[in-house]
């Protein structure tokens, strides 16, 4: 049970670090998974990240591989849930209140900057 909690906490933290896209958290994920918790070797991490790149869906689903290694099927669900769930709820909350942000100058400016 406690390994599931550590797993959830680790990927929850990574999820909220992923500002501007998932690729930015790969180094921190490597640090957590390989150096701090020792769940995978550096080699295994690269291999699994590679696999998650060539399979459908976001590469951050690599969390499923780590979760499966720690606690089987349930572990995979917990890791993917922690990676995508809470940030999705936050995003949905903001999307529902979207009307209040629409038209603000900073939103328009950021949008033009990113998608030319």
């Amino acid at each position: 049970m406690s390994d599931l909690i550590i797993l959830a906490r680790t990927f929850l933290r990574l999820s909220f670090l992923a500002i501007g896209g998932g690729i930015g958290v790969v180094p921190e994920m490597h640090r957590q998974v390989v150096d701090i918790h020792g769940w995978l070797t550096a080699r295994q991490f690269v291999d699994r990240y590679a696999l998650s790149q060539v399979t459908p869906g976001p590469a951050m689903l690599v969390s499923g591989f780590v979760g499966y290694k720690i606690h089987g099927f349930i572990g995979a669900l917990v890791a993917i849930g922690a990676m995508f769930g809470p940030s999705a709820i936050l995003c949905c909350f903001i999307a529902r209140r979207w009307a209040r942000f629409r038209g603000r100058p900073w939103v328009e400016a950021l949008g033009e900057r990113w998608l030319r």
Binding site: R13, S15, F16, L17, A18, I19, G20, G21, G22, I23, G24, P27, E28, R31, D35, V46, D47, A50, L51, S52, Q53, V54, T55, P56, G57, P58, A59, M60, L61, V62, G64, F65, Y68, K69, F73, A76, I80, M83, F84, P86, S87, A88, L90, C91, C92, I94, A95, R96, W98, F101, R102, W106, V107, E108, A109, L110, G111, E112, W114, L115
Partner: protein, 188 residues
Amino acid sequence: MRRISLAQLTRMFCWIGISSIGGGRSAYIYEVLVERHAWLTRQEFLPGYTMSQLLPGPTISNLSIFLGNSFRGIPGAVIALLAVLVPGSATIIGLAALYFMRGSSPSIETLLEGMGAAVVGFLCIMVARMGKGALRARGALPICLLTLAAVGPMRLNALAAILVVGGLSLWLNRPGRQAMQVPPGGTA
């Protein structure tokens, strides 16, 4: 914005989830929804895209939520997110199960080795593509090197690095300076 049924939404985002292999998925969603199928205009797409970059969490899941919500409210957001995630999750879990059942055989190891090399090349392309856009900002190169040093060799906490370096970068690019760069005839 066109009226889209939940069934259409499910089919479209499932297809996006399955076919989005590799990077640049947000650009792919833009191409499919705005240019190919005209489900919404560029102006309707942009704000959701901006917010999904700014908010924590992977961009593609945030973007799917924004788009799903704008088409069909909360059910649309939930369906878009699940449609993008479920096919990939099933594949990953299936592969993980297979890997653990069979153990590692030399042929799998060789296959993975080749793929690891390909992905390193792929990431270099992504970095180059992102760099072209991002390095134009004020003080971008020193900031980039500072982050590299902090997270790489110095192994500092990524959260601390993001807060400090991100704050510095925002301050360097604060709106006051941008406003002065509006070209003549531009709408400020």
